[in-house]
């Protein structure tokens, strides 16, 4: 009887400990998700309290509407440009730093600094650097005889310019993750590879580094896709989706629909689609993390 009494006391204590977290979890996650789902089937706007259930109209609207396709496409182009570069550069820089341990601290600081910085403020700097008439970037280009570009002002270029800013802010982040992965590779594997004949840069990379880095690489790739898909800040500060909606990315569209046009129902539907995509990435990540360890 004593054990059940003790178990009951432990359970009582546990409920006390989880009570605040559980209440907040209900208020901040469970209830809002339920409301978002419900709202996505209505034409609710904040402006009037009157609303109707409209079934799947919000979702079918998405398929028809040009703005939705445009936003999805913009996000995709931006990510397709950003992700390979952030991945490749992060990896190359990490390998190069790993071979130069004497400079590791200083290089780590230099490359990681943009990750900590407030992107909203630094975006102003980038806008100035990318200024089409007086910016340093075009100044440098013209110095070597290349005509200046209208980085943030041209429809064809604006997504790439935003990707360059994100690249600047993301490379150091990937580098740190790759460095952690590299440090975990036993040194004796490289010795064994050298004795076996794999002592060139290509062989070392293909036979040891890359396979040993596989789990880290997948982790970086998946989390980068989530990061890329969530682009919002630089668009909000620098372009507001312009010029001519050329940089209207997914979250910015959802923000506009919800908080500028107050099409809450439609915006809720957009949010849910966003969640499904993020969930898919997270699932991929969970599957990858599961088969992570060799030994």
């Amino acid at each position: 009887m004593a054990t059940t009494a003790a178990a009951r006391a432990q359970a009582r204590l546990a409920y006390g400990l989880v009570a605040p977290a559980t209440c907040l979890l209900l208020l901040i996650y469970v209830l809002p998700i339920a409301v978002v789902i419900a709202m996505s089937f209505t034409d609710y706007t904040l402006v009037s309290d009157y609303y109707e259930f409209v079934g799947f109209e919000n979702y079918s609207k998405m398929l028809e509407e040009e703005a939705f396709r445009n936003a999805l496409w913009n996000t995709f182009i931006y990510a397709a440009f950003l992700m390979p570069l952030a991945f490749g550069l992060g990896l190359v820089i990490a390998i190069a730093i790993q071979e130069r341990q004497q400079f590791r601290s200083i290089l780590e600081v230099l490359y990681f600094l943009p990750v900590t910085a407030t992107l909203t403020a630094m975006a102003l700097v980038w806008a100035a650097l990318m200024d089409s008439r007086q910016g340093v970037l075009n100044g440098t280009l013209e110095l070597v005889g290349i005509p200046g570009l209208n980085w943030l002002g041209s429809e064809g270029l604006v997504l790439f310019s935003l990707a360059i800013i994100s690249l600047w802010a993301l490379v150091g982040f990937n580098m740190v993750l790759f460095l952690a992965g590299l440090t975990a590779i036993p040194k004796s594997l490289y010795d064994a590879a050298a004795v076996d004949g794999a002592d060139g840069a290509v062989d070392k990379f293909l036979r040891v580094t890359w396979p040993m880095l596989g789990p880290t690489a997948m982790f970086v790739a998946v989390t980068n896709s989530i990061t890329a898909f969530k682009i919002f800040d630089t668009v909000a500060v620098l372009t507001q989706g312009g010029p001519n909606r050329a940089s209207e990315v997914y979250l910015y569209l959802a923000y506009l629909e919800g908080f500028e046009y107050f099409n809450m129902g439609y915006s809720a539907a957009l949010s849910l689609v966003f969640l499904v995509i993020i969930f898919a990435f997270a699932l991929l990540q969970a599957l990858v993390i599961d088969r992570k360890v060799h030994y």
Partner: protein, 291 residues
Amino acid sequence: MADIPSTAAAPALPFSLWRKRMWFHAGTAALFLGGWIMVFPFVWLVSSSLKPTDEVFDADFSLIPRTFAGWENYTKVLFEQPYLIFLMNSFIVCAGILVVQLLTAVPAAYALAKLKFRGSTILFGAVLAGITIPINVTSIPIYVGIVRVGLLDTYVAMMFPFFISVFAIFLFRQFFKTFPDSIIQAARVDGFTEIEIILRLIVPSAVPAIAAFSVFSFVAHWNDLYWPLIVVTSQDKMTATLSMLQYQSAFDNDYGGAFAAATVITAPMVVAFLFARRLFIRGITMTGVKG
């Protein structure tokens, strides 16, 4: 690995070795060039914040200001404009969020890790599911709720969606799991109450994880633009990050002042990073997802 050059200058190096060393040094040079590109925006920012407006976009750019206007720019930003209030708002919001997050997450994580109770599996499942849900998804109902209770444009509204960090619960639970049961049992035998066990054994052992999470949380909310943009409507509650947006939209052609403001806003996180490099790197890369 064997190609790290030794300091001893060996005469008549074989050509292959010599070539290897040249590549090595070229790589080092390239790394530092890249590093310079990474910090250049910061250098440019500080430099421009010290210049008078007409010099910022001068045709022949120089890092050293020809006319030093740093004093005017910074006094204006700090004393004539409300940037100190913006910084203060950011700080209050970040600190408030962090305190509530820790107060709710640590006990819940301990219960999930070490105590048996019915519903723990469901709760933990909800926590795991919550990790993947960003604020962008739940923002509409939370905003509507805040409007309904009339809390728009208050500190509470700015902090509320972040009062619980499911990530913190998950992280701390994993950490507490590794804490040996035998020590907890020994403490119970020694007469510790459960609260004492948490405060005097568990929390001190989790200091590294708590510190890393604190950095993560603070940096994330300091740099957040999305939520303040939605719930802040007045100058009084404007955060540092949000003020940058205002600057951009109403560019008043005071470039020197604008960049002095940007410097003031960027500085706290950058300086803190330089002082606690390891902790920052660990904290910020903890989730894998940046921003």
